[in-house]
Amino acid sequence: MRRHPEAVGTALPPGSGNRIVIGGFRGTWADVSTASLPAVAAALVETHLAAAGAAWEHATSPRETLIAGAGRVSDDQAQELRDDGFTLVRGESIEPASQQREAVTGRLWLLTSGSTGRPKRVAHTLQSLTTVAADQPPRRWLCPYSPGAYAWWQVVTLSLAHPGQDVVFVEAAQLDSWPQLALAEGVTAASGTPTFWRQALWRSAETVAKLPLEQITLGGEPVDQAILDRLTALFPAARISWIYASSEAGASIAVHDGRAGFPVSWLDRDVPGRPLLTVVDDELLIDSAWSARGFEGPLRTGDRAEIIDGRVHITGRVASDEINVGGSKASASAVRAVLLAHPAVVWAQVRGRRAPIVGNVVAADVVLDGPVSQAELTGWCSERLPDYSVPRRLRLLNEIPIKETLKSDV
């Protein structure tokens, strides 16, 4: 088991003078007005400004905090939080805890994305969420993630911990037009899921191309070579990184060479300060100092790892990858990779669809950026996949679907 970071102190964060932009607010972290949270508080926020205030308060005083978008917490979960000693703070509204208790000083709670089921709480500290240690060149970051999500905290802690890391937050209503916002605000670094980047390039490629991006980061979903290549072509001078992280495992893999997957030599490598990565039965296991409390030790991530040409590719969830087609096993991630390799396909989602006789057939939804017929796409897949893996139902979508998490469950 790797050492878990100690709880954070309450000295003023080094990045307290960094500038942040949220809607009409322009100021430093220290300028953000706070809500005077109770010692054990769940801040259920409607805006990034409220979330930033709660984060700042947590970073500068001893307390226990959960920050989440108000819409992510059901009535049942809200009651569970109150029963567990949290006072709920929704703007001006305060709902007291069912029973008061002492704060676990420094404890930060996150809600997982819920892509594997009902959202659950995982325990971190500001320090365990601060995974960038080295000095950083001055940058102005775009943060499009939902308040309180692990990726949101990654941007926030980077800014709190390092001088020169400004942040432009994207409110939910601004997500469709973020390139225009980023251009107006002089953003030089941006982090998002592959779906987020695909949607932006599909909708607003001209505006995106004008951004003076020096750093592009992808994470939260399988990162394929096609999206890396598109971004590299658009921003040849930028550093393009993909990060493997989860609320439970923490940020564990960072790859900066512009290639999908990470070198196979990183597996089973025991280096102090770095997570230990292993693959067992095609599943990625992580032992990291940045994991959530209670998830220390080799953590089964549920993510499928496939070694191709000396690189370890994270291709999707183990549980949902396999599609049984009449006894033959098709891989949803392999089919998706073939579809995305077609020059006209900008987004693809592959799943099994219940069908008579064979049990399931492979079905796919795609978004296109060029003239191509369904027959041509089927032919493209037939040349590259076994018969049972070729999508038998192809649905053309007009938009790239994206959820609040910036993912599309591919």
């Binding site: 069908a355 008579p356 006789i357 064979v358 057939v361 089927t378 049972y388 038998r392 139902r393």
Partner: protein
């Protein structure tokens, strides 16, 4: 939506075959194994019919194993729509 006609079903079966570079023969007596129409193709055709109808077909019907010709496929799908 009302049931698909035999001609419509024949066209859809032709589409399934055409996607694989094959052609549906003119005779309903043509054996499926000769034209290379397999269980996966039958499944795809059924899904196409379901999508067109907007409802699922009930495949808990006897006689599936007796489907050997183009005509058998069309008749079976006609019956399923009425089930």
């Amino acid at each position: 939506m009302s049931a698909l006609s035999r001609d419509q079903l024949r066209t859809m079966m032709g589409d399934v075959l055409e996607a694989q570079g094959k052609t549906i023969p003119s005779s309903d007596d043509s054996p499926l194994d000769e034209i290379g129409f397999r269980s996966l193709d039958f499944s795809e055709l059924a899904l196409r019919v379901e999508d067109e109808l907007g409802s699922e077909l009930n495949f808990d019907a006897p006689g599936l194993r007796a489907i050997e010709t183009v005509g058998d496929v069309l008749e079976f799908l006609e019956q399923l729509q009425l089930a």
